[in-house]
Symmetry: C2
Subunit: 133 residues, 2 copies
């Protein structure tokens, strides 16, 4: 896919992304070192495309879910495998299923916790507004 002539593809510096996403440049470079990002280079300097930015956001989402970087990398790789052999695709499906299982477990945990918090809050509020008969 070639870029349309008059559409400007935005570029980002490492500090742009760091500020926007509220992380340090050190962190971004570290993610690159761990194979989570592969920004282009203009000379020495890293140049991030919109796709790179999206990737980074995916990493941060993984982090919020408590996933280790290796798992996050695998997860992200799922997003970018365009096509492959049958064997590859089946392996990919298996990984998706694995990740999905984790996500579903996490979702269940969250639902439970939320309900329990509702109850705790209720009891808490009952204490705050003493019930007079």
């Amino acid at each position: 896919m070639s870029a349309p002539a008059n559409s400007i593809e935005p570029e980002f510096s490492i500090t742009d992304l760091a500020q926007e996403l509220d992380i340090t440049t050190r962190t971004i470079r570290f993610y690159e070192d761990r194979g989570l990002l592969r920004p282009a280079r203009r000379g020495q300097q890293r140049v991030y495309s919109r796709a790179d930015r999206t990737r980074l956001k995916l990493v941060l989402r993984g982090k919020r879910l408590g996933w280790p970087l290796n798992d996050i990398r695998e997860m992200i790789e799922l997003y970018e495998t365009p096509d492959g052999e049958r064997r590859q695709l089946e392996l990919m499906l298996a990984r998706i299923e694995q990740s999905r299982a984790t996500l579903l477990q996490q979702r269940d945990d969250i639902e439970l916790a939320l309900r329990e918090f509702d109850e705790i809050e209720l009891r808490c509020r009952e204490q705050l507004t003493p019930h007079h008969e």
Copy 2:
């Protein structure tokens, strides 16, 4: 060696819990060291009540959600504050709100990821069963 014959309240040894919850005894002791557990003692040995077991399960749920132990400890403390002064209760409500916000964010992240996985899987399956016109 754990269940009393005319059992009213069940007791658990550290290995009981370790085996049941699939963690090591080292881990359980570590959690105690970090203030997440406070089992009773019979002499030197730790004796875990059903409540301790529940607590430990809460810890593991927190772990599955990727929370650090400190946060988990605070979260668990919410479960066990019986009653307090108005000031205390209000502080507690604030903490609940804080935890709830985190949980809701995590839930959103999960829902998004799940949907994206659905899409990826779909494209993946399309590749597997080639569409001939």
